[in-house]
Amino acid sequence: MADKRRLMQGNEACVEGALAAGVRFFAGYPITPSTEIAEVMAERLPPTGGVFIQMEDEIASMGAVIGASLCGLKSMTATSGPGFSLKQENLGYASLAEIPCVMVNVQRVGPSTGRPTSVAQGDVMQARWGTHGDHPVVALCPSSVRETFDLTVEAFNISESLRVPVILLLDEVLGHMREPVELPDPVTLELKDRPRPLAPPGEREYLPYAAGDDLVPPMASYGEGYAFHVTGLFHNSAGFPTNDSAESERLLRRLMQKVEVRHHSISWAETQDTEDAGVVVVAYGSTARSAARAVKAAREAGIKAGLFRPLTIWPFPAHLLVRAEKARSFVVAEMNLGQLVYEVERHVCHRARVGRVNRAGGELLTPGEILEAIKEAAAWQ
């Protein structure tokens, strides 16, 4: 049987995942190390009748994505650090106005222009809190080229079905690394679409922000005759601006709850040897690859170590930490000066000591560095 594997970059796998998920609109702006996503989209989308446009800036590309999504197209953009900062206002718009869209952030060293071609994981907290105000967010974080494909598909599924912007947090190593992958046949994928109004326009009043028990309001598209209003102001169920405090609070709480009530179905983690582990490493993205090696080496050295690898960074899969219930030490390995460590501490500080191993200068953490941190944490017990 012919080998169906292809050698591809994480950035290419992201495009393949998006195409398999049904993306029809991409707007972007060139920025290292995400540019290949735009380049491959520019080649692949037009022959399928999809739209690719390189906008005048990062802000405009996020705006165009929202406009296209309102016309019913699955839409996405891709960027990196500085562009991620610039897109934050319109990301908040998408949260409040409940516009499905996917934003890829291939992380590089920051702040500011930083080190454009070097790897980092410094945008974890920005992904959660980058736009102003309370807001729902979902952020996924793959560790391999194949997983980049899979989580891009899931990013669209979550975004469409919950009407929430989804951030795909890659990093420079993952984006540029090439691995042989066999991609699934797109027809085997389970794809989800946004909920749609049941009644045709004019039959009965369409309230674009009236949600049922599932907390996700049905979404009409522009040009269908519903003549509905969308605004970044707090709005009532009809979509029009409100200054009513109770109504505003209800809206914001629903936006948060529609994600919170689905926590278990969208917040994923994988574990390796955690059941009996006294020391558990928490690592994500390309760091998790070094961490997996380090955990294996620790086991070989007689230390009961394990790996907890979140695939969903936000909302954090704290409910899966029960798989590491014997752990008395955690080591959070990340390519920043400590971000996800605060989330881990919050959940395990009552039962375990939390250490950290970090790098922020633009190179991967090595298995050796993580192994040293495991040995140190094992000595605490």
Partner: protein
């Protein structure tokens, strides 16, 4: 369709101050739509932030009230996704010329089929009267208490240079002409820009002692000159006058049409391979 079919009457009265010119301009827009016989179900009106941009609340079409300055970016996504829809952008002088200036020139450069109506009241009304890129030199604003030092834009010349294929200027005073100009912009298959001079008696007018709304409307009458009347006059004779009417009509490939041709070409090639 009647004019009233283009309005969400249950959303009225509007939020604009007594004497504001924005209602007149919105009226001209609505009558231009009605005169053009455009199906309201096939119209998307997109606005930014500011007094002008609240107009989308009152229009009975698909409406999108976006972030400050970004209406054209959102509208570009709408138009590319649905080239068959009529896309209108409602913006103000601060929204279009300051924070949204980049999107303005690039939308004009692409000649994408969007009609922009820029409600120019020379001030940031929503935040109570700061100077904008359209405030004349020396005029007063809350942030220019000693007089404005910033030279204003000529937005019409800017968008023409950037590639717009229809450019016009009208005023709230010349409401019928404005309606005609907006209708011409809607009919142009490319990027159309209509600067509509409005009056803000509450902040701009009061601070600059320009009188009440009627006096400000009279100023529009006395300080404008039509393209026809301006023809042949020397720059000295036109000093201090704003030229109104159709200022530019050009030709050029429309962006979504070019994109559609690209897709058809690629798909035809795909079939023959």
């Amino acid at each position: 369709m009647a004019v009233k079919d283009y309005l969400r009457r249950e959303q009225l009265p509007h939020i604009w101050c007594a004497g504001c010119g924005h209602g007149i301009i919105m009226g001209a827009l609505v009558r231009a739509l009605e005169r053009s016989d455009i199906d309201p179900a096939k119209v998307v009106a997109v606005s930014g932030i500011g007094c002008s941009s609240r107009a989308t609340t009152y229009l009975n079409v698909d409406t999108l009230h976006t972030t400050h300055g970004r209406a054209l970016a959102f509208a570009t996504g709408v138009k590319l996704a649905r080239p068959d829809l009529t896309v209108i952008v409602i913006t103000g002088d601060g929204d279009a010329a300051a924070i949204g200036g980049n999107h303005l020139i690039h939308s004009a450069r692409r000649n994408i089929d969007i009609t922009v109506v820029c409600f120019n009241n020379s001030t940031y009304g929503m935040t109570s009267g700061q100077y904008s890129p359209m405030t004349p030199l020396g005029h007063l604003a809350t942030t220019a208490p000693y007089g404005n030092l910033d030279r204003p834009f000529d937005l019409c010349r800017l968008v023409e240079a950037a590639g717009a294929t229809y450019v016009a200027r009208g005023t709230a005073y010349h409401a019928t002409q404005l309606e005609h100009l907006i209708a011409e912009g809607l009919a142009n298959p490319g990027f159309s820009f209509i600067e509509a001079i409005s009056q803000c008696p509450t902040y701009y007018g009061r601070r600059n002692r320009l009188g009440e709304a009627v006096a400000m409307l009279k100023w529009q009458k006395d300080n404008t000159i039509s393209v026809q009347q301006a023809a042949g006059k020397t720059p000295a004779e036109l000093e201090g006058k704003l030229v109104t009417g159709r200022l530019h009509q050009g030709r050029g490939p429309e962006y979504t049409a070019s994109y559609r041709e690209l897709v058809e070409r690629l798909q035809k090639r795909g079939e023959t391979v």
